[in-house]
């Protein structure tokens, strides 16, 4: 029933590296280095939490793949895939938990 939608999502994963090509920092998401350049200083509050959380795939990159443009693109696409899977399964678990029920006989993929 949802085959076309799955295809659309797969297509988005495959095309995701396009997002990697636009590497400019989004407004308000500056690193401490960028802030130091822009504002001339790094506010204490920002400095104090800098790097406190080390995400597994920080910035949608897969460290194992190494550095360089291709690794960045591949890591981005891989992150898209990994993230999609985690989000999907988390949603299923969460909603099932909420409703305390199972999905219909069609199974997990709808």
């Amino acid at each position: 029933m949802y085959k076309r939608y799955w295809l659309a999502l797969v297509l988005m994963v495959i095309l995701s590296p396009l997002g990697f090509l636009n590497k400019e920092t989004a407004w308000g998401e500056w690193t401490t280095e960028e802030l130091a350049t822009m504002a001339g200083f790094v506010p204490k509050g920002i400095e104090s939490v800098n790097g406190w959380w080390q995400a597994l795939f920080q910035g949608y990159s897969v460290g194992m793949l190494g550095n360089g443009q291709f690794a960045g693109l591949a890591g981005y696409a891989l992150s898209a895939l990994i993230g999609a899977l985690i989000v999907y399964s988390s949603m299923l678990m969460l909603v099932k938990l909420l409703t305390n029920r199972r999905t219909t006989g069609d199974g997990w993929l709808g």
């Binding site: 590497k23 989004a26 407004w27 308000g28 506010p43 959380w53 993230g83 909420l98």
Partner: protein
């Protein structure tokens, strides 16, 4: 944009968490009560869509980027409360696993993107699409306008959250402790990005996705949230 940690004071984050707790509670209760089990995979796919669409960075003049959120699309197709859940999950995974958005700032990002955007978008949609035929131009336009408005409401909220920091939280010598830019900077900057580019992209994404859904899944178009005709 996803607000990183450090830009908002702990008290700001706590207040927004305090607002989000009843929102999440209400969203959970609503979903629990009214979700159609057969639609659960669709809900989950919606969250995946939102997660993925937020990875497509769009270049903005003056050297920055922005992205659509899918928040309004989800609120139209799933209903606003289910969209709160789906968007919150997407945002949470983004923050936790990919460092996109802060952990402490999660409540702020959720407030903007998982609460304000879906609701602003949903009611805008319902207002403009009233009586429109399924798959009609007007329905799609309503979705587009709703998307445009929804993301801009979220953007304004984020701009305010940023912009009040320097006035409220200073060191003894007046130096900002958190976001160093006041409303005079944050509001024009955020609104420029979202009114000119991000909002348009969000609107187009919402309208196109609605077109796809209404043509692919006639059965879904009778959902009370998408359907604009009085039943």
């Amino acid at each position: 944009m996803h607000i990183p940690d450090g830009y908002l004071s702990p008290s700001t984050c706590a207040i927004l968490a305090g607002v989000m707790l009843p929102v999440w509670y209400k969203a959970s209760a609503t979903v629990k009560k009214s979700v159609d089990i057969a639609r659960i995979p669709f809900m989950a796919m919606g969250a995946v869509f939102a997660f993925l669409v937020m990875m497509f960075n769009i270049p903005i003049p003056y050297g920055t980027t922005a992205h659509a959120t899918g928040a309004v699309l989800l609120s139209i197709t799933l209903g606003p409360w289910a969209a709160v859940i789906a968007m919150s999950v997407a945002l949470f995974i983004q923050a936790l696993i990919f460092g996109d958005g802060g952990i402490l700032a999660f409540s702020a990002n959720a407030f903007n993107i998982a609460f304000l955007a879906p609701f602003a978008g949903y009611y805008t949609y319902r207002f403009f699409c009233k009586g429109a035929e399924l798959g009609s131009r007007r329905q799609l336009w309503a979705g587009g306008v709703a998307g445009y408005l929804g993301i801009n409401v979220a953007a304004l909220s984020a701009a305010i959250q940023f912009g009040i920091q320097p006035i409220l939280f200073q060191m003894a010598d007046g130096t900002p402790i958190y976001c160093p830019y006041g409303l005079g900077v944050t509001v024009p900057a955020m609104m420029f990005v979202h009114l000119t580019v991000a909002g348009v992209v969000e609107g187009i994404v919402t309208a196109l996705a609605l077109k796809f859904i209404t043509s692919q899944s006639p059965d879904l178009t009778f959902e009370s949230t998408i359907n604009c005709k009085e039943v």
